[in-house]
């Protein structure tokens, strides 16, 4: 991968981290409402994944979507504005944290019903197949989402209909407070693909380069063979499920162990091993991410709320 791309990925990972850290503060300050699910700890997954897509490849994910939005090219300004419910958010403040999308960036949301977006992903891919192109749809979801019927129906038709879908399970070990082993018949999510005769793989979701490599291979396979693929990325969320999680279900030691395995730290170390990248460059990138986050907060705070006319707008096209 060329240096520019590597540095861009590093920038995105740090930006996601900073944006969410500030988001958490603003949530505590009561400026953000509803549910907010932080991606902190999992940045390597969507960053590696989406770095491997072509712009024409579609992305769709669940409610843990701030990182995905930024990786897809949605600006920190829009993300922050949506969190604050401002009209300058990509969803005009009507969607909030769980509903970030951009047709222009080929990012199809941000969906809050667990597993509900998987059949929709099959539909995006069906649409492309119908129109005769070879776009790939990348659908991300959690480990907990693999136990619901939506998952089964979507994976089955993707195989039966030869749809170009890359199914990506972010196995962060828990669905809310329920450990994978307590909810799922199998502890390796990738094994579920066997029931569909679907090609599958498992990758370290804390290592962005490993994710990128696995995603590249999977995307090529999906595009070339016109068949779906299930990729499991093993990762961990450093924060609670959403704001205000009692976290009775895991120990501080466990969390600590994973935090020592920070995807940003891992990536930084890996980059510094390359002789053409210096610590100064990375520091500069971190400073830029910091500054851009600050600008995003200012932009969001300064942005207007949606006017009352927005209340009845867009219920219908006609």
């Amino acid at each position: 991968m060329d240096k520019q791309k590597l540095l861009q990925m590093y920038y995105e990972m740090v930006l996601i981290r900073r944006v969410e850290e500030r988001g958490a503060e603003l949530y505590q300050a009561g400026k953000i409402g509803g549910f907010m699910h932080l991606y902190i700890g999992q940045e390597a997954v969507s960053t590696g994944l989406i770095a491997a897509r072509e712009p024409r490849d579609r992305v769709i994910t669940a409610y843990r979507d701030h990182g995905v939005a930024i990786n897809c090219g949605i600006s920190a300004n829009e993300v922050m504005a949506e969190l604050l419910g401002k009209v300058t958010g990509m969803s005009k403040g009507k969607g909030g944290s769980m509903h970030m999308a951009s047709v222009e960036k080929n990012m199809w949301g941000g969906h809050a019903i667990v597993g509900g977006h998987l059949p929709i992903a099959s539909g995006l891919a069906l649409g492309d197949q119908y129109q005769g192109n070879d776009n790939v749809t990348i659908c991300m979801f959690g480990d907990g989402a693999t136990n619901i019927g939506y998952f089964h129906e979507a994976l089955n038709v993707s195989m039966a209909w030869n749809l170009r879908v890359l199914w990506v399970c972010e196995n962060n070990q828990y669905g809310m407070g329920t450990a994978v082993e307590r909810a799922s018949a199998v502890s390796e999510i990738r094994q579920k693909a066997e029931g569909y005769g679907m090609k599958n793989g498992r990758v370290d979701g804390m290592d962005v380069l490993a994710v990128y490599a696995a995603a590249r291979e999977a995307i090529d396979y999906v595009r070339r063979e016109s068949k779906p693929y299930l990729l499991e990325a093993v990762t961990y969320r450093f924060r609670g499920h959403s704001m205000g999680d009692p976290e009775r279900y895991r120990t501080q030691e466990e969390v600590k162990k994973w935090q020592d395995n920070d995807p940003i730290g891992i990536f930084r170390a890996a980059l510094l091993k390359k002789k053409n990248i210096t610590a100064a460059e990375l520091d500069e990138i971190e400073a830029r991410a910091e500054a851009d986050t600050q600008k995003a907060v200012e932009f969001a705070e300064a942005s207007p709320e949606p006017g009352m006319e927005e209340l009845f707008r867009d219920v219908y096209v006609e």
Binding site: S91, K94, G110, L126, N156, R313, V315, V317
Partner: protein
């Protein structure tokens, strides 16, 4: 104009729209090789091919999810649910996804989707397969709910639904596919969201739709013999609900009966009655009566099933009651 059946009218609308626009396609269980469980898409598979007449697994969530996804990227899917009862196996897409995606994402998305589903009782299919839960779907903003009572309306409204950029639930009735009526040939569009006087009269306003229309027209004939002239207003669309013709008629007759096949409680008639009183309170000379299904799961036994379903005699009795 040609005199054709409801089945032919629906079939014609689908065929014409598919011929007109390559983005229109059908998906659902047994829509292809089988030709449609109710033979509505008979011959489509051979003419349009497997991609545009797509047979699916028995997986209602996959069907509606796929349809919504395809609609998001610009196609115009017509998803068929073998019966409306199976909507409960994929309810989230019908009421929680299709109707909300556009609004929730600030107007970025369009969901030009039609969900066709047949409903209704009277065929001894038992409690899980015989429902007319139309009011349930009409409760959700973002969805349009259409339920025609004549072949002409079926054709005109279905063609419009397919061209609509919003999700439309199109409800057909299992015992009405043989109903015949005059239907304009070729291009014929009717606006969604307009009620219509299907039979003029001066004495009592009967508000109804779908199967209720068939029953009400029969009741009207019988009542006419006794000199009672009922005016029948067909809602045709449950959301958006057009009260115009209903109120106009009611302000003339001052008496009304609402006829629906579904259960009375929390049904269509409740909303229509509430609206009539809200908007024409001073015109009511007698309580508006509702003729609807008895509050039981529909039994298999034919006699019991018919006893639970609204009958022509229930309508005539109600009309006479409001005239007392």
């Amino acid at each position: 104009m040609a005199r054709i059946t409801m089945r032919e009218a629906i079939s014609q609308a689908l065929w014409e729209e598919m011929e007109r626009d390559p983005k229109v396609f059908i998906l659902g269980e047994e829509v292809g090789v089988w030709g449609g469980t109710y033979a509505v898409t008979k011959g489509f598979y051979d003419h349009f091919g497997p991609q545009r007449v797509k047979d699916t697994p028995i997986a209602e969530n996959a069907i509606l999810g796929a349809a919504i996804g395809a609609a998001l990227v610009g196609l115009r899917p017509v998803a068929e649910l073998m019966t409306i009862n199976f909507a409960f196996s994929a309810m989230d897409y019908v009421v929680n996804q299709a109707p909300k995606l556009r609004y929730m994402f600030g107007g970025q998305f369009k969901v030009p989707l039609v969900i066709r589903a047949v409903g209704g009782g009277g065929r001894q299919l038992g409690a899980t397969h015989s429902q007319t839960p139309d009011a349930v779907f009409a409760h959700f903003p973002g969805l349009k709910v259409v339920s025609p009572g004549t072949p002409e309306d079926a054709k005109g409204l279905l063609k419009t639904a397919i061209r609509s950029d919003d999700p439309v639930l199109f409800l057909e009735h299992a015992t009405m596919y043989q109903v015949r009526g005059e239907v304009p040939e070729g291009e014929y569009l009717l606006p969604i969201g307009q009620s219509k006087i299907q039979r003029p009269g001066r004495d009592v306003t009967v508000v109804t739709y779908a199967k209720g229309l068939e029953l009400s027209l029969k009741a009207a004939d019988e009542l006419a013999k006794e000199g009672i002239e009922v005016e029948i207003v067909d809602l045709r669309t449950l959301r958006p609900l057009d009260m115009g013709p209903v109120l106009e008629s009611f302000k003339k007759t001052n008496r009304a009966v609402i006829v629906e096949e579904g259960w009375r409680s929390y049904g269509v008639g409740a909303e229509v009655a509430a609206r009539m009183y809200e908007e024409a309170f001073d015109y009511a000379d007698a309580p508006i009566l509702r003729v609807a299904q008895k509050e039981v799961p529909l039994p298999y036994n034919r006699t019991l099933e018919q006893a639970a379903l609204p009958q022509v005699s229930d309508i005539t009795a109600a009309v006479k009651e409001v005239l007392k």
